[in-house]
């Protein structure tokens, strides 16, 4: 009898421990749209490193780039998003996104100090390509507005992350860390570039 009870209890505990929540409405409505919008820029490593690199470079360049970038970048990216929504094709979008990671990573690693207009132009061109990739997903989202809110917020927060990391430039050791991070971003960008060109499987 005791053996039966212990077996039944073990089975019950195992059954309870292995249960998972039933997700009958996964990725539906506002919550699904918001979740997919928030995750889209974060789950794509090439997007993520480029967004963070923009923030770090802005911090390295100092004023006015450090405060103009967070205000204008989402807007410029939205222009790319509009092109994506309207299915306007851009040349080699995946390669351009990889190139953006390489160039922004090199700019951070080399502490490249360009005039503000030139830096803004470079970032704007890349922002349009990144926005295009996100915008193409917009009509397919569970809730388009929630998706838009999610991806703009995620992009803004990634920038903020970059700017926070960029504040390490106040210390000499921090500057070295950031340069190393820039080199790492460029390296990952090179991998995606090679993948895009078919050199890596």
């Amino acid at each position: 009898m005791n053996l039966h009870i212990s077996r039944a209890l073990t089975t019950a505990i195992a059954a309870i421990a292995l249960t998972q929540p039933a997700l009958a409405h996964e990725q539906a409505g506002v919550a699904g749209g918001l979740a997919s919008g928030l995750l889209h820029p974060v789950t794509g490593i090439d997007h993520l490193i480029a967004m963070v690199a923009v923030g770090i470079w802005g911090a390295q360049l100092g004023a006015p780039a450090i405060w103009i970038l967070p205000i204008t970048f989402p807007l410029v990216m939205a222009v790319g998003g509009v092109l994506g929504v309207l299915h306007v094709p851009l040349p080699m979008p995946e390669l351009m996104i990889a190139i953006s990671a390489v160039i922004l990573g090199v700019a951070v690693a080399a502490r490249l100090r360009l005039p503000f207009a030139a830096a803004a132009a470079i970032v704007a061109i890349f922002a349009i390509f990144h926005g295009h990739a996100h915008g193409a997903e917009l009509p397919r989202a569970a809730n388009a507005l929630a998706y838009g809110v999610g991806f703009v917020t995620a992009t803004g927060l990634l920038h903020l992350c970059g700017i926070m990391i960029g504040t390490l430039t106040r210390w000499p050791a921090g500057e070295r860390i950031i340069q190393g991070l820039g080199a790492g971003i460029a390296g990952i960008g090179c991998y995606f570039l090679a993948q895009g060109l078919g050199a890596v499987a």
């Binding site: 506002v30 405060w67 967070p70 205000i71 204008t72 970048f73 989402p74 807007l75 990216m77 939205a78 222009v79 998003g81 509009v82 929504v85 309207l86 915008g135 917009l138 009509p139 809730n143 388009a144 507005l145 929630a146 838009g148 809110v149 703009v152 917020t153 803004g156």
Partner: protein, 205 residues
């Protein structure tokens, strides 16, 4: 033993059949439509975004200009309700997106909007959203109670958002003040970006 069980079962059956629905809220007093009017816009992302953006814009312009919205915004919501039959919730998508873009751009540019223009923008937003909220009303809804709830929600949200923005921007140190202003402007840039994409989506579909 059996008679005890039978009595217990009979008592349980009687209790279950005699049970009424618990009415913790005063829905039965016909005030349910008031709460529906007050809560409906808070469950719609379009309302949340546009109301917050309007409150942010008014808050950045200061209390002297913003306080007009305490009256103008709820009145606009009430004025929009009769247009519900003309403009469905889906029909206001482009208008919503355009207002998001316009308000976001004004916030991002830190534009010093005159009081009259601010009131006109807030009234336009309120009329559009009032019509969109009214479009989802059923024939059984008490429109007067719904309108009262909607106006109360509009008054509360606009006043709180304006006040919080005005307080957020008030600081003692210059450095902190500049960063807070940039944060509000960045938020404006985000709102404009969302508006731009939503406008393109509304035009594309």
């Amino acid at each position: 033993m059996r008679s005890h069980l039978a009595r217990a079962l009979t008592a349980a059956a009687l209790l279950l059949t005699g049970a009424n629905a618990a009415e913790a809220h005063i829905v039965a007093a016909r005030l349910g439509d008031f709460y529906m009017g007050a809560s409906h816009p808070l469950t719609d992302l379009q309302d949340v975004l546009l109301w917050t953006a309007t409150g942010l814009l008014a808050g950045t312009l200061g209390a002297a200009r913003g306080r007009w919205l305490i009256l103008v915004f709820p009145l606009g919501l009430l004025a929009g309700l009769p247009f519900a039959s003309l403009f469905g919730a889906a029909a206001t998508q482009l208008a919503d997106a355009t207002m998001m873009l316009a308000i976001g751009m004004l916030l991002a540019a830190a534009a010093q909007v005159p009081t009259f223009v601010l009131c006109a923008i807030a009234f336009a937003v309120a009329v559009i959203r009032g019509a969109a909220n009214g479009a989802e009303l059923g024939p059984e809804t008490d429109r007067l109670l719904f309108a009262a709830g909607l106006a109360c929600a509009g008054y509360t949200v606009i006043t709180l958002t304006m006040a919080l923005t005005a307080v957020f921007r008030q600081t003692t140190s210059d450095n902190s003040a500049s960063w807070r202003a940039i944060a509000v402007r960045a938020l404006g840039g985000w709102i404009a970006a969302i508006g731009l994409m939503m406008a393109s989506l509304a035009l594309a579909t």
